[in-house]
């Protein structure tokens, strides 16, 4: 017993003495480099955004953001470890340092950005909340949902938007909240609820997981703005910049026409000064970010530009078939816009 206590005492003292300073800016990058991988919090099973295939490999837009960060930091997109998180766990996990990046279709809001000790690095997907109902109900508009039972995922902005929407329109509803989107979808199917509400992209994703997707329809109303993006801990601007610019690099690459296929070629003979700066041929922009010179090349080569990532995961090449819409580049009718590398 005494031995145990002595050991404990030594460990405690050591630990107390060992922790004198706190993380300054840059601590996350150093820690990430030291452990050799990026710990990334993702969703627990949402086709198109983050889900595991039969072999247990993670796929999706949110997942690719993590890969991009790893490619930028290590030059190797595979140096990522994923923590599947429920909506309820995600912020605590990021706050506590359990994960380095939270890329889990999370809506950027002021309270999350300021009050919870997180900061959002950008927007990977402009979304809005919608409703998924069974065609049999004969509902054509969300305004007809008075008295409905609604399935929601616990701890999301949709929970709050839903209540606002029904109150504004003087309607009543009964919420049934689940921890995971799988459970909500299962309950919609079983008829426990009349309608499932979530971000529209998620509704499409969940619909293809139903046994008879054609029986269900997404209502036309979009009741909120849901800019989804990766978040990092507050107080480490350096890491924040890395995540932010990994995302911007993908957007800029699409704008400049650099793809995973032509990036090597472009890196040898850049077609324009913009491309040269992005790919590190010209200037020391990587060094400013504390990243290798070819950070953007690695991202584009191993993960792809934003357009490729979008089409591969949720767009025409996936079975979700979501149109670019708001998520097209600013010069193509959308609002995706990245500051230039310069």
């Amino acid at each position: 017993m005494k031995m145990v206590k002595t050991t404990l005492a030594i460990v405690t003292t050591a630990a107390v003495l060992g922790v004198s300073g706190f993380a300054q800016a840059g601590a996350t990058l150093d820690a990430v480099k030291k452990k050799g991988f990026v710990q990334c919090g993702v969703s627990d099973g949402l086709p198109g955004f983050s889900f595991t295939d039969a072999k247990g490999a993670y796929k999706g837009i949110d997942v690719d953001v993590c890969h991009a960060v790893a490619a930028a930091v290590f030059g190797d997109a595979s140096k990522v470890k994923f923590s599947p998180l429920t909506a309820k766990e995600r912020f605590t996990a990021l706050q506590s340092g359990e994960i380095d990046v939270l890329s889990r279709n999370t809506t950027w809001t002021s309270s999350r950005d300021a009050g919870m000790g997180l900061v959002f690095a950008g927007v990977t997907y402009y979304d809005g909340q919608g409703f998924l109902v069974n065609k049999k109900l004969g509902v054509n508009s969300a305004k007809e949902l008075d008295g409905a039972t609604v399935c929601i995922q616990a701890g999301t902005t949709t929970e709050l938007n839903l209540s606002d929407y029904f109150r504004t329109n003087g309607m009543k509803y009964t919420p049934i909240t689940y921890d995971t989107s799988d459970e909500s979808a299962k309950s919609l199917e079983a008829g426990r609820c009349d309608v499932l509400t979530s971000d529209q992209s998620q509704l499409y994703a969940q619909r293809i997981k139903l046994a008879q997707p054609d029986e269900y329809v997404v209502l036309p109303e979009v009741i909120s703005k849901e800019p989804l993006g990766p978040a990092v801990r507050r107080g480490d601007e350096e890491w924040f910049s890395i995540v932010k610019w990994s995302l911007f690099a993908m957007l800029n690459a699409e704008e400049l026409g650099v793809t995973s296929k032509n990036v090597d070629e472009m890196a040898k003979t850049p077609k324009s000064p913009d491309i040269g700066r992005l790919l590190g041929i010209d200037g020391e922009y990587g060094k400013d970010l504390k990243l290798p010179k070819d950070w953007a090349v690695q991202i584009i080569k191993q993960v792809g530009n934003y357009g490729e990532v979008f089409e591969r995961n949720v767009g025409a090449e996936s079975n979700l078939k979501i149109k670019r819409g708001l998520n097209a580049l600013w010069n193509q009718g959308g609002i995706q816009y990245a500051p230039p590398v310069r």
């Binding site: 017993m1 404990l8 003292t13 919870m116 409905a148 909240t177 299962k186 009349d194």
Partner: protein
């Protein structure tokens, strides 16, 4: 450190004097515990500050802004988080109370069935206990929720019982009594009946002590309890109006509804806990030696009376302590309801509220203290009861 106990001889040196060493030992232990506590507290404090996470309990006054599927007290989205806390607490208590009552009834039945002279009943009870208690409760909750209750028909195809009770995959709908105005005579009659029964019982007991003559207390008080309020009903009409559930739009409206999440969790937990209580009751009854039964029958007690006056009071002494821990387990297991979306403490407060506010430490602290408080109160209650029935040895 071999002789820390009270057995070794006292000697002069500091390290060989057991009493001084005991002090040293304890001081070291306390210092370590305090140091660990301070270490964790300090880390948390600096981590929170450093990461700019809001702390403190101010959030409890903010408006919640989300709906809750089952609330025993009035609740709207504009209510505060502290109200949400109350809703969650009441929902947890509801599950626990229903579960404890049901589990006790089923458990005692099982325990008696295990000792039944009927071979088939004995075996069935045995098979039930061995099956149920070896399957994780979480799995049983899933079973009730996904396999039993979800396949029920939707609201428009509800199974109905006389157009009064409706069962569908949204729950069990039944008429709710609404107190009609001007019903005070009914309540007064009920009060008089209750007080009367208590007094009657006292009197009958005193009389039996003096004269040995028994008095049919049960039947008399039952009569009192039915007749007096019944009389007022006859005189001034039924004290309640019934609020009937009516199919309107998507769902039934009005009446009382028991949501399937509640049914699943209560069924699963009470059946699961009952299996353990059954074994406890069986071993309790078996612990009463057979001589007691023989003595009772040689005194001329009938089997029913033997069970009630001789066996059960003695068996209870053995049963109460493990029964208490079963009750505690049930209360703690009620937190598994989070897995199927029943809005109790863990899912509502340590889940939704934690996530909407981001104040993990405060919400977890509150949640855990609530469970501690519930556990401690049940322990205290059962200890008091245990003391009352404990064997008084001379």
């Amino acid at each position: 450190m071999q002789n820390t106990g009270n057995a070794s001889p006292a000697s002069g040196s500091f390290f060989t004097d057991p009493r001084k060493r005991a002090w040293l030992f304890q001081i070291v232990a306390v210092v370590i515990v305090v140091a660990i506590g301070w270490f964790l507290f300090n880390n948390t404090q600096t981590n929170l500050q450093h990461r700019g996470i809001t702390s403190g309990f101010g959030f409890l006054q903010n408006s919640a802004g989300f709906g809750i599927s089952q609330h025993l007290i009035d609740y709207t989205e504009s209510d505060t988080y502290s109200r949400v806390f109350l809703v969650g607490l009441l929902n947890t208590l509801l599950v626990s109370a229903l579960g404890i009552v049901l589990a006790t009834i089923i458990g005692f039945t099982l325990g008696v069935a295990r000792l039944s002279p009927n071979w088939l009943i004995r075996r069935l009870a045995g098979v039930y206990i061995e099956t149920i208690r070896n399957i994780p409760p979480l799995l049983q909750i899933f079973f009730w929720y996904f396999a039993v209750l979800s396949p029920l028909p939707g609201p428009r195809q509800s199974l109905e019982l006389g157009e009064v009770f409706f069962v569908n995959n949204r729950g069990l709908y039944m008429p709710a009594p609404v107190a009609a105005p001007g019903m005070w005579p009914f309540w007064i009659a009920l009060l008089v009946a209750v007080v009367g029964s208590v007094l009657l019982r006292r009197w009958a007991r005193a009389r039996q002590h003096l004269t040995g003559l028994p008095f049919p207390v049960l039947w008399c008080s039952l009569g009192l309890l039915i007749l007096l309020p019944g009389l007022t009903v006859v005189i001034s009409g039924v004290p309640f109006d019934w609020d009937m559930p009516v199919l309107q739009g998507f769902n039934f409206r009005g009446g009382w509804v028991v949501i399937p999440e509640l049914i699943s969790i209560v069924m699963a937990l009470s059946l699961y806990t009952a299996a353990f209580i059954g074994e406890t009751v069986r071993s309790g009854i078996q612990s009463v030696s057979h001589g007691q039964t023989e003595a009772a029958s040689s005194l001329g007690l009938r089997p029913g009376l033997t069970l009630r006056l001789v066996i059960i009071p003695q068996a209870l002494r053995v049963i109460i302590p493990p029964l208490t821990s079963q009750y505690l387990n049930l209360v703690k297991n009620s937190s598994l309801a989070a897995a199927i979306g029943y809005p109790e403490m863990v899912s509502l407060f340590a889940g939704t509220v934690l996530n909407q506010t981001g104040q993990a430490i405060e919400t977890m602290m509150i949640t855990m203290s609530v469970y501690l408080a519930i556990s401690i109160s049940i322990s205290v209650l059962m200890n008091v009861y245990n003391k009352r029935i404990a064997l008084i040895e001379r």
